[in-house]
Amino acid sequence: MNIRYFAWVRERVGVEEETIEVPGGVNTVADLISHLKTLDENHAAAFEEDDAIRIALDQMHVETDASLGNAREIAFFPPMTGG
């Protein structure tokens, strides 16, 4: 699965995007976040404030209880500040 990061989430993880194999048992966005936190210190720091992170699955906003299903891309970012 392709993962993209934006703004301070990207800066904390240290990469703009990465591709990971989703392990068995990881079914929802929340499961994936828990898994990413175990990867290394950077990921752990990026996801430290869970509440402050917004998620898009195949470029649509979703909540953490959303199922990953067959989505190809997931993105993590702070609340939007455009306009």
């Binding site: 993209r4 898009a56 970012f77 702070p78 939007m80 500040t81 455009g82 306009g83």
Partner: protein, 160 residues
């Protein structure tokens, strides 16, 4: 026939006059045109630039979804949304919304709605760069923006 909104996400500047003309030129059915331009402030001389990051693809798609929602809610004759990305200096344009309708209320309300949802739903982030040369800091989302957006969903008649 339903209007097709013009949505653009670009690094280049835009011309609000030209975009307004695009929605009125050669037409006799437009009675109201509202344009909103968001500009970069210098924050009392402390800000050297804003760095606008966006999610390519999703930014256009989300602006398109918000524009389609506005077209479904108000009888518009035309709608344009342009949002810039990249480095933007104080005094420069960031965002443009133009709404056209037969009557003013629809044009005003649709523009207000678009900006409220654009600020809370469109994937753009601002980083402030200071004149002092301090490391740039990401702008925090404002809870007031969420409240503004909620006006359009919670009991729309009585709360306005």
């Amino acid at each position: 026939m339903q209007v097709k909104p013009l949505v653009r996400v670009q690094a280049e500047d835009f011309d609000a006059g030209e975009e307004s003309r695009r929605l009125t030129e050669g037409r006799k059915d437009v009675g109201a045109l509202v344009t909103f331009t968001g500009l970069c402030r210098d924050e009392a001389g402390t800000l050297s630039a804003l760095e606008l990051e966006h999610y390519p693809g999703m930014a256009e798609a989300e602006l398109g979804r918000i524009a389609a929602e506005a077209i479904g809610r108000w009888p518009l004759t035309g709608l344009t949304v342009i949002h810039r990305f990249g480095r933007i200096a104080p005094g420069e344009n960031i965002v443009l919304v133009v709404t056209a309708s037969k009557h003013r209320r629809a044009a005003f309300e649709a523009a207000d709605f678009l900006m409220d949802f654009l600020k809370t739903r469109a994937p753009f982030w601002k980083k402030e760069h200071r004149v002092s040369g301090d490391a740039g800091t990401w702008v925090d989302a404002k809870s007031g923006d969420d409240k503004d957006a909620a006006r359009w969903t919670a009991d729309p008649i009585s709360s306005r």
